[in-house]
């Protein structure tokens, strides 16, 4: 789960990280009221979860009410990289002399958390990491002990942060780590962390991503997720409701399978045989008939789909259950929207083959032949 900027800032501020004065607004009038509260000049920032909001026109700095109205009118309701903007954060403009980057993430290669500090703040930090990795100071953290204050200081000093703000920056870093740890974060970042002419540090942006698998122990974050949910791709939302791992792609061969690796392999084979995958859909392990029906419903809802390939290798998933689900889904149509190819192997595959209504689907014996057939159908339909 990704927190919105305003949510992350609230969480950071509660923990004692200094943040600019700000208020949320969903109409132009609310934005004017918010600006009166935080004062001019201020920034109007679209609250959508995409990178590069500034470049895409989702952030604007304004000096007075006229400019603010103009900006709010333009930003509220705009489409930003495919996402609808329905709220903006109106935020005090901070007069800064320097920008830093601080972050915490899990280093999967090491299997432990890592904290990072850089004086190259305010820019695309991933680009810095790639082009000039020495510009980012790193400290690995023993998850049993947490981040020791000396480690935070060591990172800050070795990044070359000015001595007169170093202690304050180190304190922000230890707070950020504690938050990341308490909230089951996957990434927590402040970019930029601004240094003002009075040598104060202020978090001008806030990123907090939380491990979905750990949400069960954070009811407060679950509430934020519901509150922050303002939509996105309709099909991906539907997949969320059904509880599928689903990714929409740009091709026309719909793909359903069990197990992430096998579904990815099916995508790759569609490409290999000259087709183009429309989606990734993993029904997961042990799926019952209803889940299979829902999966077909999902894929048929995508108007780009010209054919569907079902690739099931049963282990914990049973072929007979899958076959029942396919039948149920297809028998509900007067006319089947697009051709469906099925390949069943593994647990109860033979029982499944007997159950499958072969008037409604094409059965193939191997992964390769199933994919090839689906690609051919897609070409014919397209």
């Amino acid at each position: 789960m990704k927190l919105h900027e305003y949510q992350a800032k609230g969480v950071f501020a509660d923990a004692g990280v200094p943040t600019p004065k700000s208020a949320l607004a969903s109409t132009v009038d609310e934005a004017v009221d918010a600006a009166d509260e935080v004062g001019y000049p201020c920034a109007v920032k679209a609250q959508v979860q995409v990178g590069g909001r500034g470049k895409a026109g989702g952030i604007e700095l304004v000096d007075d009410e006229d400019e603010l109205r103009e900006a709010a009118e333009r930003i509220i309701g705009m489409d930003l990289k495919g996402l609808h903007v329905d709220r903006v954060l109106v935020e005090e403009a901070v007069d800064f002399v320097d920008e830093l980057y601080v972050g915490v993430t899990m280093d999967r290669g090491e299997g432990k958390p890592v904290v990072m500090v850089s004086t190259e703040g305010g820019v695309d930090i991933e680009q810095v990491a790639e082009e000039n990795p020495e510009a980012i100071a790193r400290e690995h953290v023993d998850p049993a002990f947490g981040l020791h204050p000396y480690q935070a200081r060591r990172a800050v000093f070795s990044a070359g942060v000015d001595r007169d703000v170093a202690t304050d920056v180190a304190r922000v870093l230890t707070t950020l780590y504690s938050l990341w740890d308490d909230k089951d974060g996957t990434d927590a970042e402040i970019n930029p962390l601004m240094i003002t002419s009075d040598r104060e540090v202020i978090a001008a942006d806030a990123v907090m991503n939380v491990d979905d698998d750990a949400l069960f122990r954070h009811p407060d974050l679950q509430e934020m997720e519901e509150e922050g949910d303002v939509g996105g791709d309709e099909l991906e939302q539907k997949a969320d409701e059904y509880g599928f791992d689903y990714v929409r792609l740009s091709g026309n061969v719909g793909i359903i399978g069990n197990g992430a690796g096998l579904v990815m392999t099916t995508l790759d084979l569609v490409d290999y045989y000259g087709g183009s995958p429309a989606n990734f859909l993993d029904i997961g392990g042990g799926a019952k008939a209803e889940r299979v029906t829902n999966a077909l419903d999902m894929v048929f809802s995508d108007e780009n789909v010209d054919s569907v390939v079902f690739n099931i290798f049963g282990g914990i998933t049973r072929g007979d259950e899958v076959a029942k689900g396919i039948n149920e889904a297809l028998e509900s149509f007067d006319e089947i929207p697009k051709p469906v190819v099925v390949r069943l192997a593994g647990t109860n595959a033979e029982e499944g083959m007997e159950i499958l209504n072969t008037d409604l689907v094409t059965v193939e014996a191997t992964l390769e032949s199933a994919v090839q057939r689906a690609v051919e159908y897609a070409e014919e339909e397209a």
Binding site: M106, R108, G109, G111, K112, P113, E126, A129, E130, D142, P143, A144, D181, D184, T186, D211, D213, A214, F216, R217, D245, V247, L249, G257, N258, G259, A260, G261, L262, V263, M264, T265, L267, D268, L269, V270, D271, Y272, P277, F280, D282, G285, F313, G314, G315, I316, A345, G346, T347, L367, E368
Partner: protein, 289 residues
């Protein structure tokens, strides 16, 4: 011969009274695995599938001489269950549970470094030495005894590749599903080292996927230390950057690391043929043996 499990492995099932635990205990026993005990707090003294249940893993290990554990415990408690297995101690712990919080896993991984135990998983199908024992949820009937080792980040992809091998009469020493999470116990390098040291393993198949740098590290290991030939497969060539494809680890950052291309290139440089399809992997193995 085999790696990690054989006829002598004595298994305790953590979470044996749950639906999955009970069902797969039956399946494992039917395959011939020595399941000697279950461990579920508060259920000591009961029996499941004729197997005695203890309150703690250490008691089960002591009373029944168990040396391996299979974990079918819900995600919220799986981290604790892994700690319990490591502290019992057993030689091998296999965590099937999917959805273990990453920070729990970081703590387990840190503890793992202080022990001699092999941990396989979490979020994995387990492992099998055909004809001897299976620990986990793999369908036993597709495997056959032979001399090819297999290590994979994905369960169903393992089945797909094994099926191709078995149909050509190529059997397996041991097949290990290491799981697709970002932090796992036994990784490619650990499994490859065990296969390299197993005199009966004549060739190895390694199935990887996009995300992380484990395959690149494995390629370095193969180039430097392995005499046993390895054939590879990498899933996710068509995955778009920035999207997560099911497995927590199967995400490609935009920066070129962790992509299928970088993994395939690293493996090719290490002398590992990488198949475009699972059948091509089986072709490569056929040439090795």
């Amino acid at each position: 011969m085999s790696i990690l499990v054989d006829d002598d492995t004595r298994v305790v099932v953590q979470g044996i009274t749950g639906g999955e635990g009970k069902f797969h205990t039956g399946q494992m026993m039917e395959y011939g695995t020595n399941v000697v005990a279950g461990a579920v707090p508060g259920r000591g003294g009961q029996e499941v599938e004729g197997v005695p249940v203890y309150d703690t893993v250490s008691e089960a290990a002591r009373e029944e001489d168990a040396n391996a554990s299979v974990i079918f415990v819900p995600p919220a408690f799986a981290g604790d269950a892994m700690f319990e297995a490591l502290d019992s101690p057993v030689d091998l712990a296999v965590a099937i549970t999917e959805g273990v919080p990453q920070q729990d896993m970081a703590k387990v991984y840190r503890r793992l470094g202080e022990t001699d135990t092999y941990l396989v998983g979490p979020n994995c199908p387990g492992l099998i030495t055909p004809g001897a024992a299976k620990l986990g949820i793999l369908p036993g009937n597709i495997f056959s005894e032979g001399d090819v080792g297999l290590v994979s980040r994905s369960g169903t992809l393992t089945y797909q590749v094994v099926d191709s091998l078995t149909k050509r009469g190529i059997g397996q020493t041991t097949a290990v599903g290491i799981g697709g999470d970002p932090i796992i116990g036994t990784d490619f390098v650990d499994a490859l080292e065990l296969f390299e040291n197993d005199p009966d393993t004549k060739a190895v198949v390694m199935c990887g996927e996009i995300g992380g740098e484990d395959e690149e590290e494995a390629a370095d290991y193969i180039a430097e230390y392995m005499d046993t030939p390895v054939a590879g497969f990498i899933a996710g060539r068509t995955a778009p950057p920035g999207k997560r494809m099911g497995h927590a680890g199967a995400i490609v950052s935009g920066s070129g690391t962790g992509t299928a291309e970088s993994k395939i290139e690293a493996l090719n440089d290490a002398g590992v043929p990488v198949g475009d399809t699972p059948e091509e992997v089986a072709d490569a193995v056929e040439e090795f043996i």
